[in-house]
Amino acid sequence: MIPAAAQPHHAPQHASATETHLADVWRVVVLNDPVNLMSYVVMVFKKVFGYSEQRARKHMLEVHEQGRSVVWTGVREQAEAHVFALQQWHLTAVLETETAS
């Protein structure tokens, strides 16, 4: 849908991640902001994660009402790719580990 020049880039490869970190469970967390529209956030969740309308909307409402939502959990490399994609859409997305919480 987007021409090659404007296609979202992939997250840079993390060359220095340790094997321990790669084996950990990482969470992708989206934080609230007062600017991005609810419909925009729902659309981004559907686009980035392939979520259904219902699931995307549930996460959007969590972000809006609770200030944050864990939108994805898994291995670090994939979590980084998701955070990068969300940041390309200008959502405030951060990575957390189980131990960081």
Binding site: M1, A6, H9, V35, N36, M38, Y40, K46, E53
Partner: protein, 153 residues
Amino acid sequence: MKRVEVKLNLAVVAPLLDVIRAAADDLRPMLAVDPRLPANDAEFAAEWTRELLAAQNSDLGRFLALFNAEFFVDGVIALDTPNSEPILRACSAVRLRLREKYLRPLGDETLETGEVPPDKKLTANQRRAFAADVFLATLQELIVQHLDPTALE
């Protein structure tokens, strides 16, 4: 997404373009949102930021190209499959910058509702920035409705 042509009121939109272009210029060397990366790998963080910045600048270029000489003749912008997502993202980046530069003192509730309380006095810059923010949000809503008709507020 089918091609959509939107006719804008030149008298309303043209005065907003200066503040929009200035915000877009501010964003050439900086991201609209701090990426909040782990601090333990500076090289990785720098590469991550550089790639996000390249994507952001590409989107902003596509967005600003809407307001070319032809736009000032007929006030029409054309949205289609290739440009809709870059424009959506660019609107978001510019709105975030407008908030940082002018609108933060108005409070988050004002920005979320799009309504300024009657007792709130705005500076001239804040008035222009607020109007630009409302315009960009409206443009985003229009694009989202065409890209994703199931997305409701």
